[in-house]
Amino acid sequence: MRTGYRLMAPALALAAAVLIVVYHSHTDAHAAGTGSITGTVKLDGTAPHQRGIDMSKDPYCVKLHASDPAHMELVEVGTNNGLENVVLYISQGLSGDAANQKPTNVPVFDQKGCMYTPHVLAMDVGQEFKVTTSDQTTHNIHPEPNPMAGNIPWNRSQPPGAAPIVQSWKTEEVIPVQCNIHPWMHGYFVVVKGPYATTKDDGTYTIENVPPGSYTVTAWQETYGKQTQKVTVAEGKPASADFTFKAK
């Protein structure tokens, strides 16, 4: 009998916690108006050397980089040590409504100079994106998500002048994408839920269309992983969140 009561205490606490969470998400859903989150992502330290790429497998690719040698893009640092290609998204606190709103633009992933432009393409779950080719050589686009998690891998060819491939992804995931014909071609589709942004070459970003509320913002960089920060967005005033990744 006594133990019965003892077990009831944590059960009640759990129930209360669930109620609080439900109540909170309910109130968030009614939040009106939009704000934004802006900031800069920087690298602390010297950027690691990015190895050059030997494209001699395909003379066409070599020719394109005759004056501008290609190199790996694992860590891209711009002015003031700003980190490029970092994806920022809201990992916690978004109401169902805000999370389910899909942007209407169609981000483009271009194959140019036997490289991916951009190297990292962020998108919303279910948002259509386009794979195009500007090259006069055949590529194959081979995203490799984990098929056990909901996104299914595919592999399509894109010879010169081929029509764009329009696709979308079912669930949140960082999906590596590669070209088997040109094995140095590596990039990422970063599929997130809700508003997102990718840093420009100076490390700056702005996540638009964020309803007022308290959130956890996550910054993802392909080499350094993830960082999070708590941010409160008020109506009509951009909230700010700067991130610094330590060079390894």
């Binding site: 133990t3 003892r6 944590p10 098929p147 592999n155 399509r156 010879p159 010169p160 088997n180 094995p183």
Partner: protein, 294 residues
């Protein structure tokens, strides 16, 4: 004593709560329980022609003939798997991923029951997967159902719509030449080589989806294509791609009539005797020249 039991009960309750709170790791292997649950699910049946296969009926055959390589949970980790070393011998298929090379359906979709049935009967050339056409059709249909029950994908997804293959046209010199132009244009030679000898510039760096070395098909050494040797099989192979491998789908970029031209040209490259081979020889058809690219 009483304190002791109370403490134990608390620990038990705590461990239950912790277990419930652990995030489900989607990369984790399936458990025996999950696989057991699916054994009697609607997805664990197959329909091949007028046969209906049932997964539970194949358990005996699977344990006898398949488990050694494909493993008890269908994850391709049977006790013999460690002896298969790519690229010489590809590893056994992991059925849990639901990704199959030989499909009549577009890339990124599940194969049809017929596709799986054909693979079991045909076996995989240049691998440890023999032909199982010694088993009855009913037994093979049951095995298809059992293969399907290993993957969560069959629980939630339907197979893709098979690609349409138009009737095979008459083989002509012009068609073989047109097929060679397609071979040149979509750059099959990048991996398969100008003469189909699997020695293209990208051949040496190919890896499959699990990062294991894989070789492109060699048309000239007497190998049989893994997904079948009929003209229709060849058509399907490059139009749907071999999922899980570097071989992409070309259905976006090769029109159906061009596809038949390419089939005829591929036949002329293969070492096996064929009408196409004789015709190409008579024409004096030279291999493609990679450097005269687009």
């Amino acid at each position: 004593m009483a304190v002791h039991t109370n403490l134990l009960k608390w620990l038990l309750a705590l461990s239950v709560v912790i277990t419930l709170c652990l995030p489900g790791n989607s990369f984790a292997q399936l458990t025996t329980n999950q696989v057991q649950d699916w054994l009697h699910s609607p997805a664990a049946t197959s329909h091949v022609g007028n046969l209906t296969g049932h997964a539970p009926d194949a358990q005996y055959q699977y344990r006898r003939y398949c488990v050694g390589c494909h493993g008890e949970l269908g994850d391709g980790n049977g006790e013999n798997a460690m002896w298969m070393e790519p690229p010489l011998l590809q590893k056994p298929r992991n059925f849990q991923l639901g990704i199959f090379k030989c499909r009549s359906t577009p890339t990124g979709t599940l194969p049809t029951d017929q596709d799986l049935f054909d693979t079991i009967g045909r076996g995989m050339d240049r691998s440890n997967m023999p032909s199982w056409n010694t088993l009855s059709k009913q037994e093979r249909a049951d095995l298809v159902a059992l293969v399907k029950h290993f993957s969560p994908r069959f629980q939630s997804e339907k197979p893709g719509t098979p690609i349409q293959i138009p009737p095979e046209p008459e083989i002509t010199d012009d068609r073989i030449k047109a097929g060679q132009a397609v071979f040149q244009k979509v750059e099959c030679w990048k991996c398969h080589g100008a003469q189909g000898m699997a020695n293209g510039p990208s051949a040496s760096t190919l890896t499959d989806d699990l990062g294991r070395t894989i070789a492109p098909f060699n048309f000239t050494d007497g190998s049989r294509p893994k997904c079948g040797t009929t003209d229709q099989d060849l058509y399907r192979i490059f139009m749907t791609g071999l999922d899980g491998t570097p071989m992409p789908s070309f259905s976006d970029n090769i029109k159906p009539e061009e596809a038949w031209d390419l089939v005829f040209y591929l036949r002329s490259l293969m070492s096996q005797p064929s009408v196409e081979k004789q015709m190409a020889k008579k024409m004096g058809l030279k291999p493609v020249n990679p450097s005269s690219g687009p």
